[in-house]
């Protein structure tokens, strides 16, 4: 023990010296380390990370465009790099890397490179890498200025394009993967490393869709330095209809639609170029129409729930009370939600009316059609058409009363008669104000909206066996988006005019048809109303004045 103590005492100066040298070295490394370490971005796909500085050396990993590496040295035509994600070092050819040091690491240079790359298809992950490098290199003032807004927009657009590419890729039937799919998967992984998150949505027929979560666009919307056009693009990207999760419950969907409407309302429209203003207006029309449906549906559900199952007795009493009122005595008995639904539907129509159709780009035609279909589906709501009503149509009285919660029951009786000629209950929003009877008094047409953006035409037809109920859908396909709209009666009581437009099962179709009342078969049809003589002669004036199908 004494010996050990003596030795320790003797070696104390050398120990201190060693400690001092070690500490000095550590400080030196800390000071010199960051200065020597430079970052590089991989500029090509499937770049080999080799074990040695020669092409014959074994490949340790495959690097993809946009990945960030740390340069630790160079040898011949290779950089010695270290990949922190894979925790592996190696050599990469210099021609396959973009070193971010010196002038290349300046924010202006990075922004210039980003401007070049952001438009190139397939280089989205590299764009994300450059945008991330810009965010790291830029000062606070630059980040809050126009450059920061441009970088964020580029980041968002790159992520969005990457997601769209991934959504378009169809899996092979044999389950194998192509080189393009491998590249896409790797680039998605690179994007995830930069904090870009995607949502996966299950579409119909088992297709998967990837949607960018939108963080960069959200930040862009909050930046004072962002231009109006940038904010419009960000708002449009955040409110894409195809990125709405189909699995959302109605309350969640209403909340999400309200959020989308708020985001779009933040866009300052007047300074925008016409085509960008059109795009925002079209999106607003779609979103407000959808919101109108959700709110009207909620009002109907709560109304039905509050009335409960005893609605039948109320129906009888209500009908009796209203029968003395003569002609149209219906009144919207909805609560605040249905009022807000009417307001939303009116706003949708207003926004649609502000669209300058002559300045519509070819790419916007699909969005324009969608806005028109959604707006037209809910246009009777804007006119106060939804809700319970009791109205007289010629010699008939049509009353709408609640059934089970969310259900609306239509009853057709003769004026002065007690027995119902026809009674039908349905789960759609029945637009009472849209009811029209023909001159012969043997048919009634009324609009119903059973699903968001899907408006069908109910036809009540008097036959030898009594009144019959039949429904004309927008198209004979899986319900998607569309409307079948009453456009007028043809004399004789055998035919009616119908405007139909739908996008379902991947097909879009718009037609103006002469439909036979018996069986609702189409007798004649045309893509333009002016090409059908019957439309020119017998179309209803109120339909022509209010419909969006003649846009």
């Amino acid at each position: 023990m004494r010996t050990l103590t003596t030795l320790s005492l003797r070696e104390l100066p050398s120990l201190w010296l060693t400690t001092a040298v070690a500490l000095g070295s550590a400080v030196l490394l800390m000071l010199c380390g960051p200065a020597q370490a430079a970052t590089a971005l991989v500029v090509q796909d499937a770049v080999a990370l080799r074990a040695a500085a020669k092409d014959s050396a074994p490949v340790q990993a495959q690097l993809w465009r946009g990945e960030a590496l740390e340069i630790r040295g160079e040898r011949l035509d290779h950089f010695q790099v270290y990949d922190y994600r894979r925790e592996r070092g190696g050599f990469v050819r210099k021609s396959q890397l973009l070193p971010l040091d010196g002038a290349a690491a300046e924010p202006a240079a990075l922004l210039a490179a980003l401007r070049l790359v952001r438009q190139q298809p397939g280089a989205e992950s590299l764009g994300l890498g450059l945008a991330a490098a810009y965010v790291q290199a830029a000062s606070v003032e630059q980040m809050n200025g126009g450059g920061g807004a441009e970088a964020l927009e580029a980041m968002g657009q790159s992520a969005e394009r990457l997601a769209d590419r991934a959504s378009r890729t169809q899996p092979r039937p044999d389950g194998g993967s192509t080189a393009a799919e491998a590249q896409l998967a790797a680039q998605l992984e690179v994007a995830a490393r930069y904090g870009v998150r995607f949502r996966t949505l299950a579409r119909d027929a088992g297709a998967m869709q990837l949607c960018y979560e939108g963080d960069a666009f959200r930040r862009l919307l909050g930046m004072p330095a962002a231009s109006g056009e940038q904010k419009a693009r960000a708002a449009l990207a955040l409110t894409r209809s195809d990125c709405v999760d189909p699995a959302l419950t109605p309350p969640q969907r209403e909340q999400f639609d309200q959020w989308r409407a708020d985001v779009l309302d933040k866009v300052d429209l007047p300074p925008l170029p016409t085509h960008w203003r059109n795009r925002v207006l079209m999106r607003q029309a779609s979103v407000w129409s959808s919101l109108a449906y959700q709110q009207a549906r909620r009002a109907g559900a709560s109304m039905g729930a509050s009335r409960g199952t005893g609605a039948a007795s109320n129906t009888v009493a209500g009908t009796g009370a209203n029968s003395a009122m003569g002609t149209v005595s219906g009144s919207a008995s909805g609560n605040g939600a249905s009022d807000s639904g009417a307001v939303a539907a009116r706003k949708a129509l207003e926004q649609f009316a502000r669209i300058v159709s002559v300045d519509l780009a070819e790419d916007d035609q699909a969005a324009f059609n969608e806005a028109a279909m959604r707006g037209n589906a809910m246009r009777w709501l804007a006119m106060g058409g939804v809700g319970l009503s009791d109205q007289t149509l010629g010699s008939l009285r049509l009353s709408l009363q609640p059934g089970q919660p969310g259900e609306t029951c239509l009853t057709l009786t003769a004026v002065g008669g007690r027995e119902a000629l026809l009674r039908h209950c349905a789960w759609g929003l029945v637009m009472g104000a849209s009811a029209r009877i023909n001159r012969e008094g043997n048919a009634v047409a009324i609009a119903s909206v059973p699903a968001d953006g899907w408006r069908e035409l109910w036809v009540l037809r008097k036959s030898a066996q009594g009144w019959r109920f039949s429904v004309l859908p927008p198209v004979a396909a899986q319900p998607g988006l569309g409307y079948a709209e009453f456009a007028g009666w043809l004399p004789g009581g055998q035919e009616l005019l119908v405007a139909r437009e739908a996008r379902a099962e991947g097909r879009y179709r718009r037609s103006f048809e002469v439909v036979q009342l018996d069986g609702l078969e189409t007798k004649r049809q045309a893509g333009d109303a002016s090409m059908l003589g019957a439309f020119q002669r017998w179309q209803a004036a109120d339909w022509k004045g209010a419909t969006l199908s003649l846009r």
């Binding site: 859908p473 198209v475 319900p479």
Partner: protein, 430 residues
Amino acid sequence: MNERTHSRLNALRHAAARIRALLSPSPAATEAAGAALRGAGRGAVRALPWLLGLTAVAGAVALLVMHPPVHEVPRGDVSLRSNQLTGGVTEARSGSLLVIPGLHSVRDLPLRDRSYHPTRFARADGEAPLQSLEGLSLGLDLTVRWGVDTSRLTQLATNLPDDVENDLIAPALQGLIYRQIATHTVREVFSTQRGAIQQTLETELRRKLAADGIVLRSVEIGNVDLPAEYRQGLEQLLAEGLASEKMRYTLELEEKKVKQTELTAAADKVRRETAAEAAAREQIIAARGQEEAMKHVLPFKQRQVEQRQLEAEADRVSRIRMAEGSAQARTIEADGEAKAREKLADAEAYRQTRIGKVAVDQMAAEGALLSRHPLLIQKAMADKLSDKVQVIIAPPPSDGGFIGKTLLGTGAPAAGNATPAATATQQEQE
């Protein structure tokens, strides 16, 4: 009174003496002056009784003004006038009392309550600290509130000592408090028995002082001055007690918080359930709407399918009929073709026969020609070799020599031989 009168008369005498001394220096003048003075002296002597009377009256008046024989009753006190001769006592609570010196004596007694604040045992390290049951010194800050028994004022006017607090209350209090405190521990004095001690002191002191005509209103115990070490320990103990008390309240508070949380959670649960119920209902309604829309589409889809089936059937029938027609047409075409071919074959056979006959005739003619001109065989062979070969027909030399000799011109050409060669060349050129 008499002393004052005498002193004033002496002063007058001294003044007259000084005037005489002033007037005495000159004999003549003195004489004259003496006569005047004598006259004056005589006048003065004659006026002296009047002067004295006047002075006495003035002195008496001044004396009465300066010391009026009245006693003003102080505010809040009662004045008791005792007649020294009769021993009667007159009580006055306000205004003034005539007090004739030598005849009356006045005593003021307080009507208001007074506070006595003893200081001797106020501090543990003070003059005469109290002793507790444990023998520890402690100080007690006492306040005794007392008053005079107004029903016994007449008696008290004579019996009550001048300094009531020190002569009456302080001894009584000391006699009580030392004994009382000595029966209690410091802890009891400090905290638990404070009220009881105060009550006991108050009761006993009230009884004791009542005999002397003092009404005890209250005894208040203020600060208890403990020994420093004991104070620390006790404070710690009390702090712990307070902490435990506080803990009890804290626990009660926590229990109430738990109950509140439970109630909030229950309300939240009900709210969530209601919201979930509403959401589920809306979802069901939406699903039913979708289902209904699909149900409305299905007949049309069915009709569409049937129509497509019918169209397909019609297409099939039409295709079959077309195929049948096509097959029949092909058969007819084949028949026609066969007949056509037969006819063509007959025509060909006829043509061959005719050609054969023509060829036989031509061969016969050629045979005849060859028989006449055998060299034509070689020419024909040479023509077949190539079109580049020029053929010259020359007759064989008559002498049996080289055939080209005639062409080379080695000998004189015979006129007869030259003619066929020229003919052959001409034919070749043609």
